[in-house]
Amino acid sequence: MTKRNLLMTIAFILVAVLIPVFIKAPYQMHILILVIIWAIIGTSWNLLGGYAGQVSFGHAAFFGVGAYAAGLLTFHYGISPWWGMLLGPVAAAVVSLPIGVICFRLRGPYFALAMLALGEIFRIVFLNIEAVTNGAKGILIMPEITSKMIYYYIALGALGLTLAVTYLIVNSKIGYYLVSIREDQDAATSLGIPTTLYKNLALIPSAFFTGLAGAFYTNYVAFIDPNIVFNLTNVSVMVILVVMLGGVATTWGPTVGAGIYILLGEVFRTTLGSANVLIFGVLVCVIILFVPNGIVGELSMLKQLVSRRKASVSGGI
């Protein structure tokens, strides 16, 4: 990490920590917490999809497993769902092991499709095993904490952990291996990189932190049902759009993307009424046609230094 980057990171942390001092309204806090949840999911998706190039259309599976791990603890055993913050990520990581073994036999669009199918299978199965999951009725928990500020700091901590671990992985030998797999898998194999092993090494932390976001979601929103947490459009596809908007294969991209996405979504919702998703769809098309590597990604192509400053600053908003 260069000195400049280090300063930016410290500034970002300071801004993020001090925000609740200035913003106290529950609605604004709620939006900020949502931004952080999406930043966590986006950052973990980015590790697998951005750096390793394995575009997953099924991250809802990990999010849902994390969420349900926390929810089921309370539902069946009456244990505080906060323990789910430990169990959820682990459960998601365990689930990711067989998924990796199965899906990494496939490449490119086929991998994407297999993940999409797996995500849907999870949703349908969780809807149908009512004895265990309470089916479409979902799980309602009684939150013990009502202050948004506490949730904000917990979420922020989780995001910090996610960003730090991702940063360490990407800047280690594993990170370089992952990028080489993305750029040319055959060349990577011929250089002696065990590609399947390293793809799994990207998938496991990716699933782990997505599960963490899921478990936090259960604690925060206090209601989950399979159609919410395993949703294809609103979770699996949305996380890809968040990362695409912010910047694929960049450290701060997903956080920036989540911020812009959630805020824009709220603005559209309040100003456009029922047409908000329509405008959203138009926006998606425009982004992909004109800024295909995301805001952070495209800026760094033009001016590397300026982009870093902007990424860090807007990441804190």
Binding site: A114, I124, V284, I288
Partner: protein
């Protein structure tokens, strides 16, 4: 035994109509090498066109279909020309960008329809939609029978078009090797445009045939996208006949699953078959025939 027979026949008839939708997708996939997640949304738009013709003009869905097809052909051409062809020129880290573009198109189509029609469930009730014919003890829905007949008709027509006409041959040439086709004087951007148009028109046809059997609402597109994908992978990408057979296999598997396992798990059966085929039979059932 009657139950089994009825289940299988119902599966074949429904599968035949699904396969028409899937053929549209497999054509687009084969020529453009893109995964079109907006396909189900195109089906849905086609259904709404037919629905409008039925409600406001009193046109029977099987005739309204011939209005929906040119409309969707036009929409498909526009999408290909102004969006997907453009994306080829854009440089990006992830090649999966085009998948996301089709997601965006899907959102626009679905939500556009929602703005006009709301999320209400609508249905088309014709004089014959609840009629049935009996074969032995098995009852067969007339609407399904007519739909299956039309689906098979279109499939054979498309097959003739692709194998016998110059335009059809250019489409196949482009799907086999785009660069070589360009060297032979094929205008590839025009071909891709027409292919997307035909694919969309077939989607509209399939949707219109299913209209008397399904409730219509903006989100119904997702259902068809999923089914079309499974069928495309089952049949082998870019194969018309493969898609026709794949459609029937999916239809049978789903109705057997619904009858003998449970209604809730009906869709899981299709998805599990999908993953198994992806893993163990990557060329689809077509590769079995070739061996």
């Amino acid at each position: 035994m009657e139950l089994f027979g009825q289940t299988v026949i119902c599966g074949i008839l429904l599968g035949g109509m699904y396969s028409l939708i899937a053929i549209g997708m497999t054509l687009i996939m084969g020529v453009m090498k893109i995964i079109n997640l907006a396909h189900g949304a195109l089906v849905m738009v086609g259904m709404y066109v037919t629905y409008l013709c039925f409600t406001y003009l009193g046109i029977d869905p099987y005739i309204g279909m011939f209005i929906a097809m040119p409309v969707l052909f036009f929409i498909g051409c526009l999408i290909q020309k102004y969006m997907i062809n453009r994306l080829v020129e854009v440089e990006s880290i992830l090649p999966e960008n085009q998948v996301l573009l089709t997601v965006g198109i899907m959102l626009v189509l679905t939500e556009g329809i929602r703005v006009f029609f709301k999320s209400d469930y609508r249905s088309v009730i014709t004089t014959y939609s609840s009629n049935t014919v009996f074969v032995g003890d098995m009852s067969i829905n007339v609407a399904m029978l007519i739909g299956f007949f039309f689906a098979m008709l279109f499939t054979s027509l498309l097959h003739l078009f692709l194998t016998k006409t110059d335009l059809g041959k250019s489409i196949r040439a482009t799907s086999q090797d785009r660069d070589a086709a360009v060297y032979m004087g094929v205008n590839s951007s025009k071909i891709t445009m027409i292919t997307f148009g035909i694919g969309s028109a077939l989607a509209a046809a399939g949707g219109s045939l299913l209209l008397p059997l399904f409730y219509l609402f903006p989100d119904i597109g997702h259902l068809f996208t999923a089914k079309a994908f499974i069928i495309t992978i089952l049949g082998g990408m870019g194969s018309t006949m493969g898609a026709a057979i794949g459609g029937m296999i999916l239809g049978i598997a789903e109705s057997l699953g619904a009858t003998y396992i449970s209604m809730g798990y009906k869709d899981v059966v299709g998805l599990v078959i999908f993953i198994l085929v992806l893993l163990f039979l990557p060329g689809g059932f077509r590769s079995l025939v070739k061996r």
